[in-house]
């Protein structure tokens, strides 16, 4: 009888633990988040600013991008008959768009943060501008 009591108490202990665990899991599973409390994050991509009829959009690099090479390729789009000026503290470049309005050029930047100004001027004198911050660092972080 003693043996039976002993086995029974051990089994009861195990069952007790399982019941407690099950109750805990049930409690955790029962926690529901109110849908109103869920904050949705919307990742928006910048859209080109319209200035009159002329537009200017820089596809590459992205604003605030951190690059490792000082030589940076620029890709963008504007109206096909516009002229492009790229001004930074290190220099100034001109570019002419292709028939589809796309343009590409390579500029050289300084170490650390660079402010680059993009200017598109249409034959009627309208001007569109875009500004990018591009950082150059070879440091790993």
């Amino acid at each position: 009888m003693k043996k039976e009591k002993f086995i029974l108490s051990i089994v009861a202990g195990i069952v007790g633990l399982v019941v407690a665990g099950g109750t805990f899991y049930l409690y955790q599973a029962g926690k529901e988040i109110n849908p109103k409390e869920i904050e949705s994050i919307v990742v928006t991509t910048p859209t080109p600013k319209a200035s009159g009829t002329i537009f200017l959009a820089i596809a590459k690099p992205a604003n605030e991008e951190v690059l490792t090479s000082k030589s940076v390729q620029i890709n963008g789009k504007t109206q096909s008959d516009a002229k492009i000026l790229i001004i930074s503290t290190t220099g100034q470049e001109t570019a002419t768009p292709a028939s589809d309005g796309s343009f590409s050029t390579t500029i050289t930047l300084d170490e650390n943060e660079n402010l680059i100004e993009f200017i598109a001027i249409a034959p009627n004198g309208e001007i569109a501008t875009e500004r990018l911050v591009i950082s150059i660092t070879t440091e790993d972080f």
Binding site: V15, V18, V19, G21, G22, E64, L85, N112, T129
Partner: protein
């Protein structure tokens, strides 16, 4: 003994059902964990970014800046942040309201804060785009009207690099070649002595383009560029050498 067997059977059955439920719950938790992990990776919550801006507030290890697009940015600094400036020693205690900074660090897309890894004291130029409507040849001052109807007083100095956009290229130019009605681009800094004047570091004008139609210049703002030479009365005009 019979009683014991019944109790044991009941307990074992209960235990087995609890174990199955726990396993199911574990499986659900693992699935949820994987989903969260893949979502975090998908969103790529942290990325390297560089910004420039003007300090609007310094509080402990937190900086508040207005960036180049007039957005408010929050920057945290820690013991790994490196500071640099033209000064020998520069740290967060040297940063004050109105300072220009370049920040490179880790941007958290969720909190929208940047953990600065490099803080560089820098003053960045402002860009002005508009139409030249007044030229003061005595003081080498130009007035430019932008598309928002704001007037800008531009000082052309000896340090100013002047260009004209001709034949799809930039040619060296000078103050004397600028005419009213021309489109102009100025990259410059606010004159610390005269807050309403921008000292141009780069000046580009476009002699072969018509005036930007989006810039409206009030008629009273238009002043003749050339001085009127008084008549001598003999029909001849005195022209300056």
């Amino acid at each position: 003994m019979k009683k014991f067997a019944i109790v044991l059977t009941i307990l074992l059955l209960f235990s087995a059902s609890g174990s199955v439920y726990a396993q199911k719950l574990n499986s659900q938790i693992d699935t949820l964990k994987n989903k969260v992990a893949s979502k975090v990776a998908e969103l790529d919550l942290v990325e390297r970014r560089g910004i420039v801006g003007i300090v609007t507030d310094v509080s402990g290890s937190e900086l508040t800046l207005t960036d180049s697009s007039d957005n408010t940015r929050f920057v945290d600094v820690d013991e790994l942040t490196k500071f640099s400036s033209d000064e020998d020693s520069f740290g967060i205690s040297d940063i004050k309201k109105g300072d220009g900074l370049g920040i490179t660090g880790l941007y958290n897309k969720d909190s929208r804060r940047i953990l600065a890894r490099f803080v560089n004291a820098k003053t960045f130029p402002q860009l002005i785009s508009g139409v030249v409507f007044e030229i003061n040849t005595d003081d080498f001052i130009l007035k430019i009207m932008d598309e928002e109807g704001k007037e800008h007083r531009i000082s052309i100095e000896t340090i100013t690099k002047s260009f004209s956009y001709v034949n799809d290229d930039l040619e060296r130019s000078g103050f004397s070649k600028v005419k009213t009605g021309e489109n102009a681009i100025v990259l410059g800094f606010q004159d610390p002595k005269n807050k309403d004047t921008i000292t141009a570091s780069k000046f580009i004008h476009f002699p072969n383009f018509p005036s930007n139609p989006n810039v409206i210049i009030p008629q009273e703002a238009l002043k003749p560029q050339d001085k009127v030479v008084p008549s001598t009365g003999s029909g001849k005009k005195l022209t300056p050498l």
